[in-house]
């Protein structure tokens, strides 16, 4: 059953580029690689290898932008799991991209507290200003994908919008262009990519 495009569908750009899952996968956990070193640290934190699965998938997504079938096979091998098991876990969670997405992945919260504050208008403003036009689609230039997301846990700062690792708080339909301009602007010194920004 589909509940609407709250998770991104196969983006037209990616579909046009051929089968994204057929593209060769450059290993993330090759011996001696930074990914392997990071995974080894993680494995020391848990009594089972399986417990490192979610963090390992995060490493993949950070490195490759999404989690392909080939990447799932690599993760399965690294953690002594089966690829089917890994796919079962990947598909349970909403944040692992199973298809390539735009460079700026825009998630607008529309759950009740934001809904009463007018989040629908913020969504529409993003769809217009990014050129995505439709939820879950990537803009023709590959820069943006816009989806609705369920409660971001920042309800007092309606409407919160998460773009990649950053929360933008108090976004209104009018401030959407300013948010988009901010996405391509360099951060000031001392500001980390995950630091929240009040609009």
């Amino acid at each position: 059953m589909s509940w609407g495009p709250s998770t991104p569908t196969m983006a037209p750009a990616a579909a046009a580029a051929g089968h994204a899952h057929d593209a060769p996968h450059e290993p993330v956990f090759a011996p001696g690689s930074p990914g392997r070193a990071e995974l080894d640290v993680l494995l020391g934190r848990y009594p089972t290898k399986m417990a490192a699965l979610l963090p390992a998938l995060w490493i993949v997504q950070r490195a490759r932008g999404w989690v392909s079938n080939h990447a799932m096979v690599e993760v399965a091998e690294a953690l002594d799991l089966t690829p089917a098991y890994v796919k079962g876990v990947v598909t349970f969670y909403t944040m692992y991209h199973q298809h390539p997405v735009g460079r700026h992945f825009i998630q607008v919260c529309t759950t009740t507290p934001c809904h009463v504050a007018g989040a629908e208008n913020v969504v529409n403003s993003f769809l217009t200003h990014t050129g995505c036009r439709e939820l879950g689609r990537t803009s023709p230039d590959g820069r943006y994908t816009v989806i609705e997301v369920e409660c971001l846990g920042a309800c007092g700062f309606a409407t919160p919008v998460q773009v990649n690792d950053r929360y933008f708080e108090n976004v209104t339909p009018e401030t959407v262009p300013a948010v988009l301009a901010r996405l391509d602007a360099p951060d000031a010194a001392g500001v980390a990519p995950e630091d929240s920004v009040r609009v």
Partner: protein, 453 residues
């Protein structure tokens, strides 16, 4: 300090004292503000003593269930088994955003509380499970944990006491259900976040099948203050005639309210004064129409019910709702209750883990029916069908997500029925549900009848 507003004079700031103060984020900054003295004190105490002072203080779980924390800790015995503490930082109950503020402004406060809690339950390893979307809290916590390890506050010789204490930050990946404690454990183990059947309870077989305690962020952050100042100090906060609810609590206020944000007040605070005086009432000079006082899963209250309610576990039950997580969602007189309750149901339908059919099907049916009423396509029988589905969703599943979806529907229908009725279309060509609603046929048959009209 306060964030994003300056604190109201009627607030009682204990946990929120340093919100908005970036200086409190570093180890040195936290030490300058009295940090880690409670952990040092606790590590010199026997775990049972720590359990007892928390038990005596009356601290109850701040995640929503309100279970006495000291009692929960006392289930953990020195049995030589590997114990775990899991901190539930999967804050995802709509309307709740207090733990995010604790973690992003005072990460060391949580690290200290987690370490103290681990000591109290004979655990040497603790995991803080943070929801995947909370990138900033994850970064702050990871920095704090790193600093604490480097300063030997954590590690094989925690604060020079010889006690082994490891704290790890674990990031989720987007799933409301992982805030349910057994789903959280499954997720942490690298599984799909399906809740587990209880028993066995986590204290017997939890994380990695070992005895485990799970506490909310706010609960663990409160514990060091209790160890530092004593149970009597903590008990002073609360209604004099209600010893069952003590201490302060963070309330997240959102929706159509004049001053949204986090407020910390003593439990038992009059809800009417809170809403209209402290938070300024409805925004834009409107009137409040409905309030969900404890996160989206609790019954909806009318303004009249709010005026006489008290903000503690018992007071909210007496008013017909629950304290829950303390997420207060305010709706003003412009809001259409059918639209908002339909949106809420859609949230639960999206977030159901789909393990139990009552929940998987019930949340979906509820959403479909509510949305067709919203769109002017509902018929009179739909209201009975909704209540019948809600009955089938309550108390019959592994976890309470299903109940959480039914609750606002039932209370919304009870208190705002006229708004639902006003949207129904007058249709003479409807299959009669009269017999079905008296118990004839299965729920599926009744639903099929309603869809077949």
């Amino acid at each position: 300090m306060g964030y994003p507003h300056t604190p109201h004079p009627r607030e009682t700031q204990v946990l929120s004292t340093h919100f908005g103060d970036p200086g409190a984020r570093t180890l040195q900054g936290w030490r300058d503000r009295g940090g880690y003295t409670a952990l040092e004190k606790a590590l010199k105490m026997d775990p049972v003593e720590v359990q007892n002072v928390v038990k005596e203080s009356g601290l109850r779980g701040r995640g929503g269930a309100g279970f006495p924390t000291g009692v929960k800790w006392s289930f953990m015995k020195p049995d030589g088994k590997q114990h775990y503490l899991a901190c539930n930082a999967d804050e995802s109950e709509p309307g709740t955003f207090k733990d995010r503020e604790i973690m992003r402004w005072t990460p060391h406060a949580l690290v200290e509380g987690v370490a103290l809690g681990a000591h109290a339950i004979y655990a040497d390893t603790a995991y803080i499970y943070v929801r995947g979307e909370y990138t900033e809290p994850v970064a702050r916590l990871e920095q704090a944990v790193r600093e604490a390890f480097d300063a030997r506050i954590l590690g094989d010789d925690a604060m020079g006491t010889g006690r082994r204490l490891y704290v790890h930050v674990h990031r989720g990946a987007g799933a409301y259900i992982c805030g349910e404690e057994t789903a959280l454990m499954n997720s942490l183990e690298g599984r799909r976040g399906n809740p587990r059947i209880k028993p066995p309870f986590p204290a017997v077989a939890g994380l990695f099948a070992q005895p485990t305690t799970i506490n909310n962020v706010e609960t663990l952050t409160a514990a060091p203050h209790i160890v530092n100042h004593g149970a009597e100090w903590y008990k002073q906060f609360g209604r004099p005639n209600n010893p069952k609810s003590t201490g302060t609590k963070l309330f997240s206020v959102c929706g159509n309210v004049a001053r949204p944000g986090n407020y910390e007040v003593a439990l038992g605070f009059p809800f009417g004064e809170f809403l209209w005086d402290v938070c300024g009432g409805a925004a834009d000079g409107r009137e409040i129409k409905a309030v969900i006082p404890g996160g989206s899963s609790v019954p909806i209250l009318t303004p009249d019910e709010c005026r006489t309610a008290f903000m503690d576990y018992e007071g909210m039950v007496a008013a017909g709702s629950m304290l829950g997580s303390g997420g207060v969602i305010v709706m003003d007189d412009r809001q259409d209750m059918v639209v908002q309750i339909a949106r809420l149901a859609r949230f639960y339908a999206h977030e159901s883990c789909a393990q139990c059919s009552q929940c998987r099907e019930g949340t979906a049916w509820t959403t479909k029916i509510l949305e067709r009423i919203r769109d002017g396509q509902g018929v009179a029988q739909d209201l009975d069908t909704l209540l019948s589905i809600a009955d089938g969703m309550t108390g019959k599943t592994i976890c309470v997500l299903s109940d959480s979806c039914a609750t606002p529907v039932v209370s919304g229908l009870k208190k705002f029925r006229h708004e639902f009725e006003a949207k129904l279309k007058a249709s003479p060509n409807v299959v009669s549900m009269a017999g079905a609603s008296r118990g004839g046929g299965s729920m599926a048959a009744r639903l099929a009848a309603s869809l077949d009209r």
